[in-house]
């Protein structure tokens, strides 16, 4: 029932996104922002499979973003291969790399996993800068501007990019939804809660972790291709840099990690908030927007632990409480303080 409702609201939200270029996002600039927001949401959805459902905070997903970006770009620049195919190639390579990195990190717990993924992406930054013959080093790679062509992933204006991103997001959300309902999803959550017990209950924990990691990596990799072809340029820090990894994790956490809609909302919200802060405040002093953005993160951490998606639940709880207070008036027990587990960690 509640799930049905969330699906309806979600579908309505996608319809809203689909029509918004018609009335809300009318300029190329706004559609470009829309592209950014939606791609971040898509990455957050992908990240959430590992970081939210699996409870393994990857801080190195930029690695796969970068692989997708570089693979498709190298193929189009050097061989004129369509970025669509390049994107698939990038996904394959990402899968292989994720399989490798995933298998050597399955036994790592908590922070250790986070830090290895983090360092892995930094390692790729280093390597991409160093092996200039392949990657162009810090100069980066430019994709030549061509006539609009679906095959070559080049379009006039931002609208087509926007819709491609949106379709990607819809597909990703559907994948996440399927994952959450499947036995794979339950296994993933059990691994998050208690690996040892999950294992003792027959969950092949390494396999589950690995699959989640690979799936998520492959998804992020495709977004890497989208972004590189949209920007027509890629360089090592833009591709593999920490900010990218952090951003997708933030999107998911901000919206509500481990939920279906949290990463979607969170990914979009992160871009909307940071861009509007930027718009409103940049002229105060350079970086004022960053401060507001930082304050936002802190505020969510302090007062909105479940992320943005927990707001409806909180409102509902508050309303119910209010209602109950009304009914309770016959037996006036002053609920002075609720028994709370004081200071238990």
């Amino acid at each position: 029932m509640r799930e049905r409702l969330s699906l309806i609201v979600g579908a309505a939200f996608f319809v809203f996104l689909a029509v918004s270029p018609l009335w809300l996002l009318r300029t190329g600039y706004l559609q470009g922002l829309g592209f950014e927001a939606i791609t971040l949401a898509a990455m957050a959805v992908a990240w959430n499979i590992v970081g939210g459902l699996g409870g393994r905070l990857s801080f190195g997903h930029a690695a796969f973003f970068g692989i997708g970006a570089y693979t498709s770009t190298l193929l189009v620049v050097n061989f004129g291969i369509s970025p669509w195919l390049g994107g698939i190639a990038g996904m394959v390579i990402s899968a292989v790399v994720a399989l490798g990195l995933g298998s050597i990190t399955t036994h790592l717990r908590g922070v250790y996993f986070t830090l290895v993924t983090f360092v892995f992406s930094l390692l790729l930054v280093n390597l991409a800068r160093h092996f200039t013959e392949l990657t162009g080093g810090d100069v980066g790679l430019s994709v030549p501007l061509t006539e609009p062509s679906f095959l070559m992933f080049q379009f006039r204006g931002q609208q087509s990019y926007y819709y491609i991103a949106l379709i990607t997001l819809v597909i990703f959300t559907a994948i996440a939804w399927l994952v959450m309902r499947s036995s794979f999803g339950y296994k993933l959550r059990s691994v998050r809660d208690d690996v040892d017990v999950a294992r003792a209950l027959g969950v092949k924990t390494e396999q589950v972790k690995l699959r989640a990691f690979v799936l998520s990596a492959v998804m992020v990799s495709f977004v890497g291709t989208l972004t590189a072809q949209h920007d027509l340029f890629i360089d090592p820090t833009g591709a593999f840099g920490t900010d990218r990894s952090v951003e997708m994790a933030l999107g998911a956490i901000f919206g509500g990690a481990g939920t279906l809609w949290g990463p979607v909302i969170g990914g979009i919200a992160v871009v909307v908030i940071s861009q509007s802060a930027n718009n409103a405040l940049q002229h105060v002093f350079a970086g004022a927007d960053v401060i507001v953005y930082g304050l936002f993160l802190i505020a969510v951490a302090l007062w909105l632990p479940g992320g943005l998606v927990s707001i409806p639940r909180r409102i509902r709880a508050a309303v119910e409480k209010g209602r109950r207070k009304h009914q309770d008036q016959t037996t006036p027990v002053p609920p002075r303080r609720q028994a709370s587990e004081k200071s238990r960690r």
């Binding site: 040892d196 999950a198 003792a200 209950l201 027959g202 481990g258």
Partner: protein
């Protein structure tokens, strides 16, 4: 009563300097209730861990349902029909009661809905069905134990290892638990118990294994074991509250 469900051969495990389980050999054959008793720290829970692959054997061998599982990871055991509970209850905190039980079924059922059906039946059996959508944190310790037991029952195991499930129950509740165990046995499940409630153990088990200092010091029928001076010395002690018992009865 002949098929060997688990065969431990020279199983050992130490932690740091402590030999928790020391060269233990026994076979769990099919049917009925078998108890594993012994003083605190004797290595009972560790033995469970070794029987289910939850801890790796330092040395020795293990066969499960006739298959060599010495090196098998713990996730193999539910498939083979072995399920267990933990002395210190370990539930999945972020999942509901139903979901906790459901995960137990995934080893056996391939579809989520089949696992959910089995989970609901198990919850009902343990009287938890009315709390299916609660969080385990809202349950009392005892209900949490029940939930863990339900989770172990979902995959319909042939061998069930219960680590102190009756600890902390009132006499009435203990009776309920015994009924449940008997039912399971009738359904063909072999139950292996770790329990300190000697009276219960002796009443329902057909065979009792006694561990001390990581070693098997006795193995036999309840009567044999209770009469064993070594067991009395190490575990049962000289009953001090006999009179109270009588009064209570």
């Amino acid at each position: 009563m002949s098929r060997a469900l688990i065969e431990m051969d020279g199983a050992s495990k130490s932690f740091g300097g402590v030999k928790a389980v020391n060269n233990v050999t026994f076979t769990i054959d099919e049917g009925g209730v078998i108890a594993l008793v012994g003083p605190n720290g004797a290595g009972k829970s560790t033995t469970f861990d070794l029987m289910t692959g939850f801890q790796k054997l330092d040395s020795g061998r293990r066969r499960t349902m006739g298959i060599d599982t010495t090196r098998s990871p713990s996730y193999r055991f539910p498939e083979l029909g072995v399920a267990r509970t933990f002395q210190k209850v370990r539930l999945f905190p972020s999942m509901t009661v139903l979901e906790n039980a459901l995960v137990g079924g995934l080893a056996k059922f391939h579809s989520v809905s089949a696992a959910e059906g089995a989970a609901r039946r198990a919850l009902e059996r343990l009287g938890l069905d009315d709390r299916a959508d609660r969080s385990p944190a809202e349950l009392t310790l005892i209900d949490r134990k029940r939930l863990e037991l339900a989770r172990a029952l979902v995959p319909e195991p042939t061998l069930l290892l219960l680590d102190e499930v009756m600890t902390g129950l009132t006499p009435h509740e203990v009776e309920d638990a015994i009924m449940l165990i008997r039912q399971l046995v009738d359904e063909g499940v072999t139950v292996l118990l770790v329990e300190h409630l000697l009276k219960v153990v002796m009443r329902i088990s057909r065979r009792v294994l006694v561990l001390e200092h990581g070693q098997l010091i006795a193995d036999g029928t309840p009567d044999e074991v209770q009469a064993d001076p070594q067991v009395i010395e190490a575990y049962i002690g000289v009953p001090r509250h006999e009179e109270v018992d009588d009064a209570g009865r």
